[in-house]
């Protein structure tokens, strides 16, 4: 078998195994949480009831409807079977809405927030980091501590401070929601403007933090490369600076691209805190609500989505690396 194929097959096999473990974990973990998921809805129905037995019957009826009265193995089997047909189950807390429906409406918001923010932050951060590494001097001395400080601020504190400063005190931006309450989603300019206004603060907060992290990383990689032998040699040979710079940055970029791919992979999971602080209607908010309400299907649905995106991103990166990075080829040859 060709070295490449062996590499891919091994990788694919491993990722599949991880997927299965992830499936089991995200099925099992929520159900280990103490507390009865039925209680939220059952206690509403049994409000005012005075007979223990009828109240108990209400709880049991709901348990039966939600399918949680069966043994765990059976539930897992049903879960897997439904998964194969694309049915992620029915939410407990938002009964009888389907999980795929809920997720489907939330994903565009999360992606719409995270994707541009990560990309913009990544680009700006890398540019800043590379410039700092290349220019050195004052720019570098100022940039590095500032970037490090911003990176040290926990994301949610940055988010809250921005919310407080720009949203509440200065009133430049709205403080919650995906769009204005008065409005109904449509394609009017007004609506799009409202979405953009609500989008700005969370967007900026993610961009700031990403810039900080990327700048530091890129700066380190660039410095590492700039101090390496081949650069020194090229300089001594008299090769033009700009040419050398191109090689340097190409080499420095590789781990950064990996980083970008992985960030995109964790995009859905990473949005949790941002969405909660800004009340942005994305997957993070739903996941958190689901966990508070013990809404098993919704929790499993969200974590499955997160796990799948991360696995997919990782897998893609590994494949691309296998193709692009000659060292991997060499390692495979060596082992094969």
């Amino acid at each position: 078998m060709n070295a490449y194929t062996k590499y891919f097959v091994k990788k694919a096999g491993w990722y599949l195994a991880t997927l299965i473990v992830a499936l089991m974990l995200n099925f099992l973990l929520p159900r280990l949480i103490e507390g009865n998921p039925v209680s939220t809805i059952a206690s509403q129905v049994s409000q005012g009831m005075t007979d223990s037995d009828s109240i108990k019957r209400v709880y049991e009826n709901f348990a039966r409807e939600f399918g949680i009265d069966k043994p765990l193995i059976v539930q897992f089997g049903i879960y897997l079977k439904n998964l194969l047909t694309g049915d992620l189950g029915t939410s407990f807390g938002l009964y009888p809405r389907k999980v795929s429906d809920i997720l489907g409406s939330a994903v565009p918001w999360t992606v719409g927030l995270q994707l541009p923010a990560i990309l913009v932050g990544w680009i700006l951060g890398n540019v800043l980091g590379a410039v700092a590494a290349y220019r050195k001097g004052v720019f570098d001395k100022v940039l590095f501590p500032v970037a490090l400080f911003i990176n040290s601020i926990p994301f949610f504190t940055l988010a809250i401070m921005m919310l407080y400063l720009f949203g509440i005190t200065l009133k430049w931006f709205p403080i919650s929601g995906g769009y204005d309450y008065q409005m109904v989603p449509n394609l009017s300019l007004e609506f799009i403007w409202s979405v953009i206004r609500h989008h700005t603060l969370p967007f900026l907060s993610i961009v700031l933090v990403t810039i900080g992290g990327q700048a530091i990383g890129m700066r380190e990689m660039a410095i590492y490369e700039l101090n390496s032998d081949y650069v020194l040699y090229s300089k001594l040979l008299g090769i033009r600076d700009s040419r050398v710079a191109r090689y340097v940055f190409r080499n420095a970029m590789l781990p950064q691209i990996t980083g970008l791919a992985l960030s995109l992979g964790t995009m859905i999971g990473g949005s949790l805190i941002c969405e909660i602080v800004f009340s942005y209607p994305g997957i993070g908010t739903w996941l958190f609500t689901a966990i508070r309400q013990l809404d098993y299907p919704l929790i499993s649905g969200c974590t499955l989505l997160i796990a799948v995106t991360v696995l997919l991103a990782n897998f893609t990166v590994e494949i691309i690396y296998g193709i692009v990075d000659p060292r991997i080829k060499a390692a495979q040859m060596e082992e094969g």
Binding site: W14, A17, T18, V21, A22, L25, L29, P30, L32, I33, E34, A133, K136, D140, L148, F149, N151, S152, I153, P154, F155, F156, T157, I160, M161, L163, Y164, I168, T169, E220, I223, Y224, N227, S228, T266, G269, G270, L272, I273, I276, L287, F288, I291, R292, I299, T303, I306, A307, V310, L311, N314
Partner: protein
């Protein structure tokens, strides 16, 4: 050892970071001896602005925010330290084992590590925190430690693999030393500095993780930590009431502590890894 410390002291980043950390530690340890009041005591009305009596005003329960801040820093740093220790210890053991022993042990442990990396630890952290019954500071630290070791493990493994084929190691192998002895005496000293830096990073990320998880309401019960202070501020709508003193000081303090730790880490990195010195 002595020479290493002297070299470190010459690095401005390390120095600044270390000084900030030491000053904060000293303050946090000494102040409670001077002001023996109970931080849980509700002295004033809710959300009173800073005054000469209450330097940072009062929180939503009417407690002295300045005093709470001091105790909060202590708790958060303690949690960070314990979480960091646990994470580093686990990461070290797994990294060394998979790096040095290799073969199937390596495959299994690497698979395990990758699995933990890939499944977002924060989500697992949330799920586990919701499911346990009693949440004390120690348990929270334990959970954070148990979910954040993979990076250390991976890094240690990489270092161990590169050291594996060095001459002195081979010499020890030929001499018939046991695997355990080789790991402890031949490999460990060379990665000690690296492990220490990893430990610092783990402590910083432990503090951040505690703050994040507490802010979501899943932190330790009945404890004052920086994260829980921010959590209460948010539940009682401090930003909307304009009570900035309830949440901005803890936020800034977290930032300063982690900043100091990152500085220490970068300072050490530059010393031990001359290639990235600017």
């Amino acid at each position: 050892m002595g020479s290493t410390v002297r070299i470190l002291l010459r690095s401005p980043k390390f120095l600044i970071g270390a000084i900030i950390t030491l000053l904060m530690t000293a303050f946090v340890l000494i102040y409670p001896l001077i002001n023996r009041a109970d931080p849980f005591e509700m002295k004033a009305l809710a959300f009173q602005p800073p005054s000469s009596e209450l330097w940072l005003g009062s929180d939503n329960f009417g407690r002295d925010l300045f005093l709470e801040l001091v105790y909060g820093i202590r708790t958060s740093v303690e949690i960070g330290l314990i979480a960091g220790l646990i994470a580093t210890a686990i990461g070290l053991v797994i990294g060394l084992a998979s790096g040095y022993v290799g073969r199937w042990v390596d495959n299994v442990l690497t698979a395990l590590t990758n699995m933990f990396i890939v499944i977002p630890s924060f989500v697992i952290l949330i799920l586990i925190s919701v499911s346990i019954d009693s949440r004390s500071a120690f348990i929270v630290a334990l959970i954070i430690g148990l979910t954040s070791w993979p990076w250390t493990a991976r890094a240690v493994r990489a270092q161990t693999v590169s050291l594996r084929n060095r001459d002195h190691v081979n010499l020890a192998k030929i001499s018939g030393h046991s695997t355990f002895r080789i790991i402890v005496f031949e490999i460990l000293p060379y990665i000690a500095s690296y492990v220490f830096m990893a430990f610092i990073l783990q402590v910083a990320s432990g503090i951040l993780a505690e703050a994040s998880i507490s802010m979501l309401g899943l932190g330790p019960y009945d404890t004052i930590s920086l994260g829980t202070m921010m959590n209460w501020a948010l539940i009682f709508a401090a930003p909307v009431s304009g009570a900035w003193w309830a949440f901005i000081p803890p936020a800034l303090v977290i930032a300063v502590i982690t900043f100091a730790l990152f500085l220490i880490n970068t300072g050490m990195d530059e010393i031990f890894n001359p290639k990235i010195r600017s």
